[in-house]
Every structure is written in structure tokens, then in C-alpha cells.
């Protein structure tokens, strides 16, 4: 390693994003005072000592900046390519790491034009990228100008390796609060920290904290380097890490948030996301940045981060795609983030143009583990029309604010312009068509997210059923619904299973909410789910009041197509099922549930959806004739599962391994059918929408009636009170 290059690179490249707000201010003040001296000092040709970690860090930064063609506006008017001997030699030493890193991160390279992976002999950092990088350091522009002057890039007209390294080290010094002078960079400095760039700059300082967790095996390329850096600059990193906490890269914010939900047990989310975003994974070099972000918010949630780091990283890779040109704006939602938010919205409310009710959103956002006052404030910001419900843009804004808050960003005083509903609405218009394709993915995603084996059973059975009929998308929907149903069913009757089943997931509705089977297949599955949940039913004989409560809750969710049927049938079967429930109370706990009993059991469930399972099935067979025999086939299996279910308290442990085989086969089938099934699914969804709209109006009517009854009752209560009491 050449001393000149090493020295320059070490200091300049290490400048990370300003750890503390005070640092840039102090740096600016110091820089202002020292600017004159710095300018007079002019170019700093001194060889600076660079630690190995710094060397790697800087070289990688330089490589990244060099990857793109140096064009467009930049710090300097011209960027003439000149080969610096130091750059070539130093790059050769770090070429291995940088090449691996560069290869591992085609994403920034793609944005930069997929240039050469290595800096090469004619290594000049693209001025545009360098400018972005420097701006990401969150230093004031004045300081950055001084740094550029000081490092000599302005003098020579380009950012060679030496100049780049010096600049990085000066940035590190500025962020540490030292004056921007040549002398500052002679001492040991922590690595510079950069806010999220559109090139997905890695925050080298942060990974050091995370390496203690040692959960970065999947991300070999960058992690390898980070490991090395850690070894070298660990002490420095520790010093910087606490300051880093409030500064988190916005693109990684979804990862943190997703990390949080992932801690709820979404072991499968990662796999699901992997399937979905295999390509972005390779392009993602966000692992370290994510780690940085995680470390950024390390204080309150170290354990969670550790456990879910891999998951979050895997998830975050996808959202980190930043197509926007505002890398420093934490309030701008990237494409990936938007997709994720839309998927989450769908999990709560399949109709993208409808609302998420306040209670539903509250339960959902409460899982983010933010404090209630903060959530209240976030709601206040995002619910622009103050109607107690969230439309899709409002939901995305709220979600984004939560994610940002979890990453340490202070909540803004007012809703940023990029999070305004009208702004997001226009932004949503174009990706809507992309969502159509994502639907199949998203449906499978929540399916995958169900960690429970039991859900897998459901899924497998669902998949097998739907193989014959409904398109894959419906199947996915059904899977999701059925999984939710199963999770809810299990959750409702059994407190123990609730914790394991329903809570792990953001996507599954809260235990109190009944499942939402979407299609008849789901209903069929509901029957199977019912069978599983039958044993728990006796403990929960729903009264009429419960039904109405659940009904009102369901109003917020778009019911399935056959919700109407179900309601009618439920009302018809109320008496019948209650009798059956009483009968089955004794039988349910036993492991010998006859198939005959399953039928009546299937007809009634506290979740309402299951209740109409069998009668609905009878009414709906015309829509799904082929699935009937399959359904019956599964009943014994469900019986078996049900028998196993009660035996195990948690329910997960008792799940046989047999169903696990099914998901694999069914998944393959689904994937093969998804493409041609999407169109049919769209058609069916339109039909479903029409029916659901009708259902919605009917349910709204019922809701109004209930409200009126309630008001009337309250009025009566008031009038019945003694006059003196108000």
C-alpha cells in the first residue's frame, strides 16, 4: 500500500455521515475559521497513515465512485481522467476487495452505468458520485467546499485516488468535530459516515457494531470487508457508533421496520423475499448499511436486531432499490418501500382504494413497538382528512413515518411534502400496474410469512385444492386468507396458540379478527381450518353480541365474495349451530372427531367465517365443483391434524412433517400457473369487487342500524338516570 495513497484515502474516505448534528455544526464553525488556513495550506500531498480498514473502506468508496461514468454536473467543472500511480497501485491492493464489493453491488453500478468494476489505472472518481457521497456526509456545503479545496481535487481538476482519500479523511475529521485542516487528518480518525446515498453507500463504521452479532454470512462480499474493517478500526467505530444512532439511512428504514415485524416470527419472510427479489439481492450492497441502520437504532433494540438481522437484511435488500434522485431525503418513499407498504395494506385491506379502519390500523401499527404517543402523533400527521381511517397513501405515509422513527429519525413537525396523500396518490398511479404482477408475489409472501407449520398445512391443502381450479393468484389469496383463518381460528380459541400463531405476523390479522376467506376454496379450507379449530370452539361459544362485534370488525375488511352467503347462512344456522356447538363441546376435546361431526363443526365457528363453511360449501359448489372431492379428501387429513392439534398445546410442535412436503410441490404448481392465472384472477376480482361493494353497502347499513340502536340505548340510559345526575 503506497503511503501517499493510503494516507489520503484513509482520512478522506473515512468520513461518514455526521454522527451528531453538533458535529457538522462544530465542523462548520471550525472549518470556517480554518478555511483560510486550509486554503493557504492548499493541496495536501502528505502520506497519511491509513489503517487497513480505512484503506479498504476508502478504496471501495472510490471504486464505487469510479464505477459510473463521470458525467453530468459535479463539484468540478471538468473531471479529466488521469491515472495516478498511487491510485493504480493502491487499487490493485484493494482491487480484490473492491472488485468483490463492486461485483456484489451491481445496483449502484447499474445506476452509475455499470462501468468497470475496478477503478483501474485511469481511476478518477466520478464527480457526480463524489458529490453525492460528500453530500451524504451531511456536512455543510461550505465545509465540503473547503475539503475539496484542501484535498487538492479542485487544484488538479479531478478526484483522483489521492484526492479522494484525502477528502474522505477530511470528511471524517469534520464529522469528528476537528477543523478542516491538513493536520487534522494525520491522526487516527474513525471512518467517515455517509447517509444513504442513491448508490447505497455503506456505512462502514456501523457494521463494526454488528459484527459482534456475526449474522452476516449471506452477505459475503461486503461483510468480508466490513469484518476486516472492524478488526482494524473497531475502537474508532465504537466511538462513532453512539453518535450514529440518530442518523440512519432512510432507505434502510424499511429494513429496520421489517426487522421489527420479522422478530415477530417471520422466519419465512426472508425466504419469501428471497424468492421475490433474488435479483436485487445480488445488487444490494445494503447489508452493511442496513447493519448501520440497525446499529443506528441499536440502543433500544439490540436483541431484536440480532435475531432478525438476517431477515431484515434480506427484506431490506429489496426496498433499498432507490430509483429516486433524492438519496438524502428520508421522507421520500422508494419504489421498494412503496411496494412493501402496498402489500402490507393489502394484507389488511385487499381493496386498495378503500380504507383501513382506525382500529385495524391501530392494532397493526402497535406491533411496531413504538410508544402510543408517538403512534398517535404519526397518525395525526398521516391521517390528513382526519376521518379515523387510512387510505392507501395515508397508510404508506404512516408506515413510512413509523419506519423512519424506528430508525431514529425525529418525527417532523408537519407531514413532509413527499408524504402528502395527493403526492403519493400521483406516485401510486403508475406503479399500480406493477402491483398486479406483484400481487401474486405478495399473496405468496404473506403465505410464506406464516411461520406456523399448521399454516403450512393449510397452505398445502389449499394449494392442492386450488391446483384444479382457481388461478394461482386466487390461490395465493386463499392461502393468505386461509392462513389467516387458521391463525385466527387457532388464536381465538386458544390463548396459548394465539401468541405463537397470530402475534408473530404483522400480516395475519389480530386474533380478535376473524379470518377472511376470499374464495370458495378458502371456504373449503376454512372447513379444514375449522376442523383444526374445532377443538377450540367449545371454549368460545359466541353470543349474538360477539357476532355483531365481529361483524363490525369485518366491515373494515373486505369480506370474501361469499361473505353475503355466509351471513345469511350463519343467521340461518345460528340456532342449528349453537346446538351443535353444545353437542360438540364434549366431543371436541377428544381426539376422535368423526367426519360427520366435522360437518356441523365446520358450519359454526366463532370466527363466523368458518361457521358458514359447510353450508356455504353447499351453496357454492357450483362455482367450485372440482374442489369438492378434494376438500373431502382433506377432511380426514384435517381430522388427523386436528387430532394432533389438541394434543399439543402450542400447536406448532404437533404439526406433522408430512404437510411440509406438500408446500413444495404445490408451490411449484402455483408458480407455473401464476402467469396465466393472473388474468383470470383479475376478472374474478372484478366480479368479486362488485359483489363486495354490495356487501359493503349492506354491512354499512347494518352498522348504521347498530349505531342507531346504540345511540337510542344511550339516550334511554340518560333519560332513565335521576335528574340530578348528568
Amino acid at each position: 500500500m503506497e503511503p501517499g495513497a493510503a494516507a489520503a484515502v484513509g482520512t478522506a474516505g473515512a468520513v461518514g455521515a455526521a454522527a451528531s448534528a453538533g458535529a457538522p455544526a462544530a465542523a462548520a464553525a471550525a472549518a470556517a475559521g480554518a478555511s483560510a488556513a486550509a486554503v493557504s495550506a492548499s493541496y495536501c500531498p502528505l502520506p497519511l497513515p491509513l489503517s487497513d480498514g480505512e484503506q479498504q473502506c476508502y478504496s471501495e468508496l472510490f471504486a464505487r465512485c469510479c464505477c459510473a461514468p463521470a458525467t453530468s454536473s459535479s463539484f468540478f467543472s471538468s473531471s479529466s481522467s488521469s491515472s495516478s500511480s498511487s491510485s493504480s497501485s493502491s487499487s490493485s491492493s484493494s482491487s480484490s476487495s473492491s472488485s468483490s464489493s463492486s461485483a456484489g453491488h451491481p445496483q449502484p453500478a447499474a445506476e452509475l452505468g455499470r462501468g468497470a468494476s475496478l477503478p483501474g489505472p485511469a481511476a478518477t472518481a466520478g464527480a457526480n458520485q463524489v458529490g453525492d457521497l460528500f453530500r451524504a456526509s451531511q456536512l455543510p456545503a461550505e465545509t465540503l467546499h473547503q475539503i475539496t479545496e484542501l484535498c487538492g481535487a479542485k487544484r488538479v481538476g479531478y478526484f483522483g485516488l489521492t484526492q479522494f482519500y484525502v477528502a474522505l479523511k477530511l470528511i471524517a475529521a469534520a464529522q469528528s468535530g476537528l477543523p478542516v485542516q491538513v493536520e487534522s487528518i494525520k491522526c487516527e480518525l474513525p471512518l467517515p459516515q455517509f447517509m444513504a446515498l442513491k448508490n447505497d453507500e455503506i456505512r462502514y463504521s456501523n457494521p463494526t457494531e454488528l459484527h459482534g452479532m456475526k449474522c452476516q454470512i449471506p452477505y459475503v462480499t461486503m461483510e468480508k470487508n466490513s469484518f476486516k474493517r472492524v478488526d482494524d478500526g473497531e475502537k474508532q467505530q465504537e466511538k462513532m457508533s453512539p453518535i450514529m444512532s440518530p442518523v440512519s439511512s432512510p432507505p434502510s428504514s424499511p429494513s429496520s421496520y421489517q426487522r421489527v415485524p420479522l422478530t415477530y416470527g417471520y422466519g419465512k419472510l426472508r425466504s419469501g423475499m428471497d424468492q421475490m427479489h433474488a435479483a436485487p439481492y445480488e445488487t444490494r450492497q445494503h447489508t452493511l448499511q442496513q447493519e448501520g441502520s440497525t446499529s443506528g437504532s441499536h440502543g433500544p433494540k439490540p436483541t431484536r436486531r440480532q435475531t432478525s438481522l438476517i431477515q431484515s437484511l434480506s427484506v431490506e435488500r429489496e426496498p433499498q432499490e432507490s430509483n429516486s434522485n433524492y438519496p438524502d431525503d428520508p421522507w421520500r418513499i422508494t419504489e421498494e418501500q412503496r411496494e412493501y407498504y402496498i402489500n402490507q395494506f393489502k394484507s389488511l385491506q385487499p381493496d386498495l382504494s378503500s380504507f383501513i379502519s382506525g382500529s385495524l390500523a391501530k392494532n397493526f401499527f402497535t406491533k411496531s413497538k413504538l410508544t402510543i404517543p408517538e403512534l398517535s402523533y404519526i397518525w395525526e400527521l398521516s391521517d390528513v382528512d382526519c376521518d379515523g381511517a387510512l387510505t392507501l397513501p395515508e397508510f404508506c405515509a404512516a408506515f413510512h413515518l413509523i419506519v423512519a422513527r424506528k430508525n431514529g429519525y425525529p418525527l417532523p413537525e408537519s407531514l413532509p411534502q413527499t408524504l402528502q396523500p395527493d403526492y403519493l396518490q400521483t406516485a401510486f398511479l403508475k406503479p399500480k400496474w406493477d402491483c398486479a404482477l406483484f400481487d401474486s408475489y405478495s399473496e405468496s409472501m404473506p403465505v410464506n410469512q406464516q411461520p406456523r407449520d399448521l399454516n403450512r398445512i393449510e397452505k398445502s391443502s389449499i394449494k392442492e385444492k386450488t391446483d384444479l381450479t382457481a388461478p394461482a393468484q386466487d390461490v395465493n389469496i386463499d392461502d393468505k386468507q386461509a392462513l389467516k383463518i387458521s391463525s385466527v381460528d387457532e388464536a381465538m380459541p386458544k390463548d396459548l396458540s394465539v401468541d405463537t400463531a397470530a402475534k408473530p405476523g404483522l400480516l395475519p390479522p389480530p386474533p380478535a379478527l376473524p379470518p377472511r376467506p376470499l374464495m370458495s376454496q378458502v371456504l373449503h379450507h376454512n372447513t379444514s381450518n375449522d376442523s383444526i379449530s374445532q377443538t377450540k370452539l367449545p371454549g368460545q361459544l359466541p353470543g349474538y353480541g360477539d357476532f355483531r362485534l365481529l361483524e363490525q370488525v369485518l366491515l373494515t375488511q373486505i369480506g370474501c365474495v361469499w361473505w353475503n352467503f355466509r351471513e345469511q347462512i350463519r343467521k340461518d344456522n345460528d340456532l342449528q349451530t349453537k346446538e351443535q356447538i353444545a353437542e360438540e363441546k364434549d366431543l371436541c376435546q377428544t381426539e376422535q372427531v368423526s367426519e360427520i361431526e366435522l360437518h356441523p363443526q365446520l358450519t359454526r365457528t366463532p370466527s363466523q367465517t368458518e361457521e358458514s363453511g359447510s353450508p356455504v360449501k353447499k351453496d357454492l359448489p357450483h362455482t367450485q365443483p372440482p374442489s369438492k372431492p378434494i376438500r373431502r379428501k382433506f377432511r380426514p387429513e384435517n381430522q388427523v391434524m386436528e387430532n394432533q392439534e389438541p394434543s399439543s398445546v402450542s400447536g406448532t410442535s404437533s404439526v406433522p412433517t408430512v404437510p411440509t412436503v406438500k408446500p413444495h410441490a404445490s408451490i411449484q404448481k402455483q408458480s407455473s400457473k401464476q402467469k396465466k392465472a393472473i388474468q383470470t384472477a383479475i376478472r374474478k376480482n372484478k366480479e368479486a369487487n362488485a359483489v363486495l361493494a354490495r356487501l359493503n353497502s349492506e354491512l354499512q347499513q347494518q352498522l348504521k342500524e347498530v349505531h342507531q340502536e346504540r345511540i337510542a340505548l344511550e339516550n334511554q340510559l340518560e333519560q332513565l338516570r335521576p335528574v340530578t345526575v348528568l
Binding site: G358, P373, S376, Y377, W379, D387, G388, V723, L726
Partner: protein, 153 residues
């Protein structure tokens, strides 16, 4: 408008929840006053004015419980200030204490201020994270009250 501690507005929201038991609870959800050092005095003033509010509400009769006017008007004047009241249908009471020397404040303005308060309060209620009965910490509500008080001052 005077700038010194002349105009004192004390907006006190009291929620008396109809409990199944006979206990009557009136506790403030939100209190704001300018100047702030006299807040305790306004606490007392508002609390005593609750009786007047109840009296006015009950005087309207049970038959009109749904149609009665929300704005109660001047509850009672003292030598220093005037107290205005406003009750919502959910028995949430808004009490405003205005400096008596502020003669420029007309009844219509008071009504509009109460309407704004009511609207802001419903916005707060729409927040699912707000539990009815909690103290109000909504920033939007604070901003609205501040702007209103500044306007009067």
C-alpha cells in the same frame, strides 16, 4: 389587542362520562391559559363553572337532549372575567374564560371559537391511538388552541 396578561383564555375540556355507577367524573382533558402562571386560578374557575354548565344543560329538559344548543353562552360573569360554556352531545364540556376587559370579543366570535375547538376535538377523537378520557396531547389541537388564543390576544 392588549399584549400584557390581559386576555386570559382558559379552555378547559371536561368530560363527564356516563358511568354505570353513580359517580360523576369531571376531569380536565386539556387546559391552556395565557398567561400560564395563573393556571391554577383558572382551574378553580373552570371547575366551579361546571356546576353552571350542568345546571344549564339540565334546564333544557330531557326532551331536547338531542336538539339542544351546544353553545351555552355566558355562564356567569365575574368582575375579572367572563366564562363561556359549550357542551357536546357526548357530554364533553368546553369552558372558556375570557378577560372581562376584552370587550371586543363578541358572541359570534366565541361561538366560532367553540366550533373550532369542537372540530379539533373530533379530529383528536378520530385518532385510534387516542383513548377517550386521556389527556389530549395532540399537536394539531395545541396549534389550533394557540392560534386561537393568539388571535384573541
Amino acid at each position: 389587542m392588549r399584549k400584557k396578561n390581559k386576555n386570559k383564555n382558559n379552555k378547559n375540556l371536561n368530560a363527564s362520562w356516563l358511568k354505570p355507577y353513580s359517580l360523576l367524573q369531571n376531569y380536565p382533558l386539556y387546559i391552556r391559559s395565557i398567561p400560564a402562571e395563573q393556571e391554577l386560578k383558572f382551574h378553580y374557575t373552570v371547575h366551579t363553572s361546571l356546576d353552571v354548565v350542568d345546571e344549564k344543560v339540565s334546564a333544557m329538559g330531557k326532551a331536547l337532549v338531542d336538539q339542544r344548543e351546544l353553545y351555552l353562552g355566558l355562564l356567569y360573569p365575574t368582575e375579572d372575567y367572563k366564562v363561556y360554556g359549550y357542551v357536546t352531545n357526548s357530554k364533553v364540556k368546553f369552558v372558556m374564560v375570557v378577560d372581562s376587559s376584552n370587550t371586543a370579543l363578541r358572541d359570534n366570535e366565541i361561538r366560532s371559537m367553540f366550533r373550532k375547538l369542537h372540530n379539533s376535538y373530533t379530529d383528536v377523537m378520530c385518532n385510534p391511538f387516542y383513548n377517550p378520557g386521556d389527556r389530549i396531547h395532540s399537536r394539531a389541537f395545541d396549534n389550533m388552541v394557540t392560534s386561537m388564543m393568539v388571535q384573541v390576544c
